[in-house]
Each structure stands twice: as C-alpha cells, then as structure tokens.
Symmetry: C2
Subunit: 320 residues, 2 copies
C-alpha cells in the first residue's frame, strides 16, 4: 500500500484536490465549486465525499495518511479559516477539526494560507529543494508570501506572518483593500499592474492599444499580451511593477537574507517581463553586503497543480 496524502486548495471559485505521494505523483484529482454550498459543513461534507470517491478508485493500492489544506486566511496554529473575504462562509471555521471528524482522528490534518502552501510546495517539489532560506511571492489578485527560515515556515506569533503584500512602500500611496495606503500589493500584483496601466494612461501621452479597455475589462493577461506585442505603455507598466517589487525585495533581504525569491502566480507567468526589472531594481537598491548574492527566480511548480502540490507538501512536512 502506497502512502498518500490529499492536498486541498480552497479557492474563491473552486476547491481543488489531488491525491499525492511523497514524490509528487498524482493518484487522482477532482474539484467542487466552493460557493455552491451555503454552509461550511455542507462544503466540508462535499469535499470529503469527492475525495473518498477518488480514493475508492485506487482501493487496495493507496492509503490516505494526511490532509493538507491551503486556503485564504488559513491559520496554521488554530486550524481555522479566519474571515476569508472571498469565501461565502462568514466568521471563523474550524477546517482542521472538521476534516479530522470526517476523515478520522488518526489522520494528520493541517491548514495554512495559500501563499505558505505555495512555499512549502516549492521547498518539497519545486525550485527551493535543498534551500533553507527562501521567500515565495505570489502575484495573484493580491500579493501573498511564504517565508522559510532555517528550513521552517515562518508562521509568527499568531499564525499571520508573511503578509509582505501589506508592507507599506509608498506613504500616502494607493488605497489598499486592507484600509491603509501604499501597500506593496496595490502596486505589485495582477490588480496592481492594472492600476499602474491606468496611472500611465493618465500621465503619458504615447499611443497604446490599452486606451481601448475599461478598468472593469482589463486583466493582467491582456497587459502581458500587449507588452509582448510591443505596446510601449504595457512595457512601461511591467517596468514600473518590477521597480516597486524589486525595491521591496531589497528591503526584505535585510530581514531574513533568503538564498532566493520565487515569483509565483498569475503575474509571474509574464516571465522575464516581470523577472528582469524586479531583479535589476532589487540589485540597484540592495544594501552592499547583499549585492549579487540573492537569486530572483520563477516558481518551478506547474501552475495548474502548484496549489494542490503545496497543500500536499504541507501534509507531508507535518508527517515527517
């Protein structure tokens, strides 16, 4: 019997899972729509049933030993999802407790936020294999981060460490979803680059295909497409985003001096368009003792499976 864990990625739209062994091989996968269940208990029952069905298909071949869950606002210490704004359940829900109730108390169940799960995934299955100090920056709708120090996830005193999207990089700058102004994620994220495009559309006079889009319609993928096609304003937006992110990474280095930063998520798919200016501005702004020492890399995890692999890796690192 092969030992496997299930990695569960709780997204705003879908909850995706995969049955994964220690080497990252998949033995089945599936998903349910997160918002289709009015209560947390209904959602939990449904994801449990879907996983059990998938396990049944490999009956006698694999044995479930752990459950790893990555979710927005997932707290490693409490095992609760705490007021996740993009999920339909309000209040705090005890995910780990519920999973143990459904799958059995003999199973290891562990929860963390999605960016931390991505970092554990990078460490176990991705480009951070063998690294003891690194930081994963997830560039999605917002900016999340997972910090690893001495080979361990940094959860902090209350389980909320690694919220680097909420470091203030421009005093009195752009309004952030957290209620403050000038947070990094208001500049360096899929939403941030869109805001930068609209600032550039206002400030610059050069022609751009992006002048034909509404704020509601424009996505970071479109900006990427136009940049690749040579649109100067789209290219400026990537330059500006990399500048803000690179300056921030220079400061983060003074904290934990990682061997590498890994860029992950939607905006990281732009590859060198985001990587190159980020690296350049990081080096330009970094303290001399760190110059030319710190890598900035793209995540090596297959984007489709990354979140699920991260959640599975979390379960494996808890089991070991």
């Amino acid at each position: 019997m092969k030992s496997v864990v299930v990695g569960i990625d709780v997204g705003g739209t879908n909850t995706v899972f995969g049955i994964v062994d220690k080497d990252g091989n998949f033995y089945g996968e599936g998903s349910i729509p997160t918002q289709a269940y009015p209560t947390f208990n209904d959602w939990a029952q449904s994801i449990h049933d879907a996983i059990m069905q998938t396990l049944k298909e490999r009956d006698g071949e694999i044995e479930l030993t752990g459950i790893g869950i990555g979710a927005p606002n997932g707290n490693y210490y409490t095992g609760h999802i705490e007021n996740a704004v993009n999920l339909s359940w309000s209040g705090n829900v005890d995910v780990v407790g519920k999973m143990k109730e459904l799958f059995g108390n003999d199973k290891t169940a562990v929860l963390t936020n999605d960016a931390n799960a991505a970092a554990v995934g990078e460490m176990v299955y991705g480009g951070a294999k063998g690294m003891k100090d690194f930081i994963v920056i997830t560039l999605g709708t917002g900016l999340g981060s997972g910090v690893v120090v001495n080979g361990q996830m940094v959860h902090g005193y209350d389980g909320n460490a690694g919220e680097l999207g909420h470091v203030i990089i421009e005093k009195g700058g752009r309004k952030c979803g957290c209620g403050r102004n000038g947070c990094l994620e208001a500049y360096a994220s899929a939403t941030g680059i869109k805001r930068t495009v609209f600032e550039l559309l206002a400030n610059e006079n050069i022609p751009s295909t992006l002048r034909a889009f509404t704020y509601n319609d424009l996505t970071s993928e479109m900006i990427y497409k136009e940049a690749v096609a040579g649109d100067k304003l789209a290219l400026m937006a990537f330059e500006e985003t990399g500048k803000k992110l690179g300056q921030a990474l220079a400061d983060f280095t003074a904290f934990s001096t990682p061997e590498a930063f890994f860029l992950f998520g939607g905006l990281a798919k732009a590859g060198s368009l985001i990587l190159e200016p980020t690296k350049r501005y990081m080096e330009e702004n970094i303290c001399i003792i760190y110059k030319n020492k710190i890598k900035v890399l793209l995540s090596e995890l297959n984007d489709k499976n990354a979140a699920v692999l991260g959640a599975a890796a979390l379960a494996w690192s808890e089991l070991s």
Copy 2:
C-alpha cells in the same frame, strides 16, 4: 565543578568579557582595550591571557566549556569578523578558529554580530524568556537587530540577516553610512535623533536649549536630558524618532509577526520618551490583523552586562 562559558563583547573601544554559568551568574569579568593591539593575533592572545588569568582565580571551582563572541560584522556561519569598520584589523579575521587554537579544540566557540548576541541574551536571560518569536532592536550609534523565529536566531542564507537598520524608509532620504539614502538607522538611532534635532533646528522657530550645541558636541544623552527638562524641540525629536521607528515596526510585523519588539541600547535608556511614540505610531500604521497584538518593550538586560550576557547565552545555546 561548575560548567561556565566566557562571553566576549568586542566593542570599538574595549573588549569586555565575563565568566557566566547557565543561570547568568558571573564568576569573574575583565576587559582589554580593543585598539591597543596592532594585529588580530596580538588582540586574541591578550584576551585569551586575561580570560585564563580570571579563570585561574576560581581554579577547581569552575570549568570552561564554551566561548561566545559578539562583534560588529561577526558572521555566525564563517566564524569570521568581516570588514568591521570600527575595528583596527582590516580584512576578515577567523575569530572562532583562533579561539579554538588558543583555548583548545574541545571547547565550543561561536561568533555572531552584537545585535544577534543581544537577542540571544534577551531570550536566555531577559524579557524574551519563553518567547519563540521576537525581535531585538539595538538603538546605538546605528540601528542593529536580532530576529528570532520559531525559537531560533535568523542568520539567513549568508549569515547577514537581521540588518533592519538598512531597510529604506524614506526614498531619497538622509544619506546612510552604507552609501544609500533613507535607511531606518539614519532616523532611529543615537545618531539619527541628533540628525532629527538639527533638521528641527532648521525647520522650527521655537526656542530650544539645543540651539547652543554644535553637531560635533551634541549626544543623544543630552537630547534626552533636555527633553526630560521640558525642552519642546527635544521632545519633538523623540516624537519624530518614535514615529519613524513605529512605522518601520508596523512593516516588520508583516514579515515575522513577533510577540514583542525589544528596544535595547543607548537610545532605549530614554525609556517611555522613545517607547511611547514608537508603540503609538506602530499601532497607528499596522495592518488591521495585527492591531493591539504586538508588544513593544524595553530590554530587561542590565545594560552594562547585556552584551557579555548575550555572548555567553550564545555559547550556552550552542552547547544545548
């Protein structure tokens, strides 16, 4: 025989040592002038001889098991002091290697920078006892820091982590000793508050006793004395220093979410004059998920012995 270690604090002026047991009791202490020795080898021989002499006085009662050293630019991984600008030896010197050569290879010898040593001291002997996540901020001539995560010192990939004095808090701001502009230590340190006084003297019209001092003569102790005596400009300087430091601590929280920040060193002796505005501005600027959770405290280590205790604690934590 009582097991003891020697804690050595290498300062720009004096090298101070203390023979310390696991509970922090002293069995002897001494010092040599750091700059009196033209070469590193001479200095090492001299501090060795002074320690051996002190140990001899308690012969048969105590047994030396380890040597802990705190020094500017002391690197935990390499055991070297790397280009310490305020010491007279140039280049890199192998402190750990030399200590083992002099004291014997059976002894544990360990080096770190002075701020990290202060953090280990706070953890073993001071206010951070029992805490797993905290940050010590040393407010001396510059701003140093020691970051503890999951109960472990954060040394980072290259041994140079925890240089929070070199996080840029004002783009294009004050010139820093590191060659860049706007580093935190140019604002929050004994030198930083003096620079703030001179900025206030230029910008404000109010009378102040501080108008009688030259830049060369003014010290942070004098600013403290005038603030206590009610000088408005001196009070403004503390307010402004606490503002800059508090805003920075709010951002640092998003990184490792410490249970507490400890303020240590010369400027921390100003007590509530620096503590109160630092705490207030931290809370005012902190992300909502951290509000009213993070303590800002004064170091509990006796300032005279703190650096030596920190170095001793480092040896003890290496031995255990």
